[in-house]
């Protein structure tokens, strides 16, 4: 008997255990740490399911970016709690919230269980089309995201930008246009500065590499962009650079460049190719790379801006 099924079983038990701990833990910090570990283990689950693209995204977003986001949010909540401790929710409110949560979880569970056993997939079709007149990409995942499901992929980035707008809009009126607060209080530790100085250039290079090989191997715009975002966050935590001013035109243009370029090329597809969001076969690969380059830029900006929070206008985090 092979040892792999046993390891898979251990992995499943660990993932479910950590998921339960994330819900049960009373302390926000402990729950977030469990959630980060859960994300990293989930990446292993995706690898065992032979989905390295998803595993990369899960490790970068579930294990990395979301962790930073939640820890920062937890810290700010803790600071709020001290100043405005309201009355704890009553029993009825707790019961209603619990019932609603159960309803959502039940609906999701029902949807997952009632999926057809062999899920509809475009993968074989794309794998067959890749060498020929298809999207010209060796990695079927990237081909699906960029050529077969391009509208969804574009809207995904629009959602990210809407989230950034949502975060910005909770800032105080008089702070509008200013920069978000620095990610850490001064002065940063020498070790943090050293880590940022060495890791950020190396990580940026790896991020660009992951984006570039995404055409033919596991990787792609989101994974590469998330890694670049993490490197920018590290540089901001070490105070090597500060969050940009929200009013900056260049920042705003760069932020929307991904979906904007995607939309322009998609609209042009109606004239130069045969349909909205279609690529002319000869130009498919260069066009996709162009779109993805701007998508990487948008993602690498949007994620750290979510972590940096609303415009603050002071130096206090």
């Amino acid at each position: 008997m092979s040892v792999l099924p046993v390891l898979d079983l251990v992995l499943i038990v660990l993932v479910i255990g950590l998921a339960a701990w994330t819900i049960v833990a009373r302390d926000i910090f402990a729950a977030v740490l469990a959630y980060v570990a859960y994300g990293l283990l989930l990446a292993f689950v995706w690898i065992r399911l032979h989905a390295p693209d998803v595993a990369l995204t899960e490790a970068a977003v579930g294990g990395g970016v979301t962790g930073v986001l939640l820890i920062t949010a937890g810290k700010r909540l803790g600071a709020l709690k001290a100043s405005e401790a309201g009355a704890p929710p009553g029993l009825v409110l707790k019961l209603v919230a619990g019932a609603l949560a159960l309803l959502v979880a039940g609906a999701v569970a029902f949807a997952v269980v009632s999926l057809p056993t062999s899920a509809p997939t475009l993968a074989p079709e794309i794998a067959a089309a890749a060498p020929g007149p298809g999207a010209g990409l060796g990695n079927p995942i990237t081909a699906v995201l960029m050529a077969y499901r391009s509208f969804d992929t574009m809207l995904e980035k629009v959602v990210l930008i809407l989230a950034v707008l949502g975060v910005w809009s909770v800032g105080a009126d008089q702070a509008w246009g200013a920069a978000p607060a620095p990610l850490r209080k001064p002065p940063p530790d020498g070790a943090m500065v050293f880590l940022a100085q060495i890791l950020a250039p190396a990580g940026a290079l790896i991020g660009i590499h992951i984006f570039w090989v995404g055409a033919d191997a596991p990787g792609g715009a989101f994974q590469g962009g998330a890694l670049l975002a993490a490197m920018w966050m590290i540089a901001m935590m070490a105070r090597l650079t500060e969050p940009p001013r929200v009013a900056s035109r260049r920042l705003r243009h760069a932020l929307i460049s991904g979906p904007a370029v995607f939309l322009v090329i998609g609209l042009a597809g109606a004239f130069i190719a045969d349909a909205f969001f279609a690529f002319p076969p000869a130009l498919a690969k260069p066009l996709i790379l162009l779109i993805e380059t701007f998508m990487v830029l948008s993602i690498a900006l949007a994620l750290p801006l979510l972590v940096a929070g609303p415009p603050n206008g002071s130096d206090e985090p």
Partner: protein
């Protein structure tokens, strides 16, 4: 030749696994955060280094072997830096 490579990999990965197990036991059994930090960094640095050393001769290409080495170097860097950060935070907390 291939037997020699197999033996080398087995010995190296085995030694790496030993350090990870020792690190885990230390994490569970050691009395305070600083000693736990100490034992964990040994597991990460030495254990992963030995596993990478054992995997390198089995890589498909020189580039893949180098990628393994770079992975270890990155873990060394982040491990050393975060240990420093946690250690300093602990010392600040004690004062």
């Amino acid at each position: 030749m291939s037997l020699l490579v197999d033996l080398f990999s087995l010995a190296s990965i085995g030694a790496g696994v030993f350090f990870f197990v020792a690190g885990t036991v230390g994490l569970l059994r050691f009395p305070d955060s600083l000693t736990r930090l100490h034992v964990l960094s040994k597991a990460d640095n030495l254990g992963l280094g030995l596993i990478v050393l054992g995997l390198m001769p089995r890589a498909d290409s020189l580039l893949e072997a180098l990628k393994l080495l770079v992975t270890w170097a990155l873990v060394l860097l982040s491990g050393a830096a975060t240990s420093q950060l946690i250690g300093r935070a602990l010392r600040r907390g004690r004062k």
